[in-house]
């Protein structure tokens, strides 16, 4: 199976990258852009066939390594 872990800064935590991207997009002629948040995505091939277990394991990986729970939150999708 495949698990996709998306890691974003928690709301309220300054996202300098998102801010800079938003400003750049304005400058490029995309005035419709409002808030921008930048995050990471990690795609994992898992040797696992049960979606529920895959999801639980990927969540464990996120908590242990992929996300920095002090400032980030994550979500997991499996496919």
């Amino acid at each position: 199976m495949k698990a996709i872990v998306t890691v974003m800064l928690k709301s309220g935590v300054l996202d300098p990258q998102g801010k800079a991207i938003g400003q750049a997009l304005h400058g490029l002629g995309f005035p419709e852009v409002g808030e921008v948040r930048a995050g990471k995505v990690i795609e994992l091939e898992l040797n696992e066939t049960d979606p529920a277990r895959a999801k639980a394991r990927a969540e464990e990986m996120a908590r242990k390594l992929l996300a920095n729970m002090v400032i980030e939150s994550f979500r997991v999708e499996v496919a």
Binding site: P16, Q17, A20, A24, G27, L28, A38
Partner: protein
């Protein structure tokens, strides 16, 4: 050559570059704020190192979209000289003025140390004061210097003699260890066809004074002074 240094927000090696250019030419280069559009009277434009726009998203991506880039393209089209160093190299690839891209260093860490570069050809204005295949030392300081291009592009670069410098050992050999950032085929710097546009990752501008540990970078600027 009359030189100008383009300063994007977050660029931080513009003073080092100015010192090196002035040291060889005796002339102060013009500082060009990125919103300026008049590049007339300049023979050489330098895009120096730093963290333009914080290196957010991708190094050089936002600077490559800056209005001054159109003027830089026009300058190149007129036959003007253009040099990118470090962030400048990243910006020029992002802008499509040079092929390929600079990826994260293979070891995923910032690398600040001296490296050795081999001069691949010395019949250009940038390398003319070096001997052919000469090895010189230069400090490097980057997190994203891992040169990448697809094989066809790399073959074309080599075929057309567009590789400017490669990472080598002090003896001039290409080894995995000498190529710390993992660049494809050890490429540290490249030319555009015509040899008027050149960019490289290391910083010869920080080694132009015996007091700072050597003058290995000086020939490059002497070449540009003429």
């Amino acid at each position: 050559m009359k030189a100008g240094i383009v300063v994007f927000p977050g660029i931080n090696r513009e003073r080092d570059m100015a010192i090196a250019l002035e040291g060889s030419s005796g002339r102060k280069p013009r500082m060009i704020w990125h919103r300026e559009t008049d590049l007339s009277g300049l023979d050489l434009i330098v895009v120096p190192g730093g963290f333009s726009y914080g290196d957010y998203l991708r190094c050089g991506a936002m600077a490559a979209q800056s209005p001054v880039m159109a003027e830089i393209r026009a300058h190149v089209a007129r036959g003007g000289y253009l040099m990118g160093v470090c962030n400048g190299f990243q910006i020029l690839t992002e802008a499509g003025l040079l092929p390929g891209a600079l990826l994260r260093n293979a070891g995923l860490r910032f690398l600040s140390m001296d490296c050795h570069l081999r001069v691949e050809r010395n019949d250009t204005v940038f390398a003319g004061k070096y001997a052919a295949k000469q090895v010189f030392r230069a400090p490097m300081a980057h997190g994203d210097g891992n040169y990448f291009a697809d094989d066809a592009t790399l073959d074309r670069l080599e075929g057309e003699g567009l590789v400017a410098f490669r990472y080598v050992t002090p003896e001039g050999d290409m080894t995995a260890e000498a190529n710390r950032n993992g660049s494809a085929r050890g490429i540290a710097g490249i030319y555009a066809p015509g040899f008027r546009v050149m960019a490289l990752m290391p910083h010869p501008e920080d080694l132009v004074d015996p007091l700072m540990g050597g003058t290995d970078g000086k020939p490059l600027f002497d070449g540009l002074a003429a």
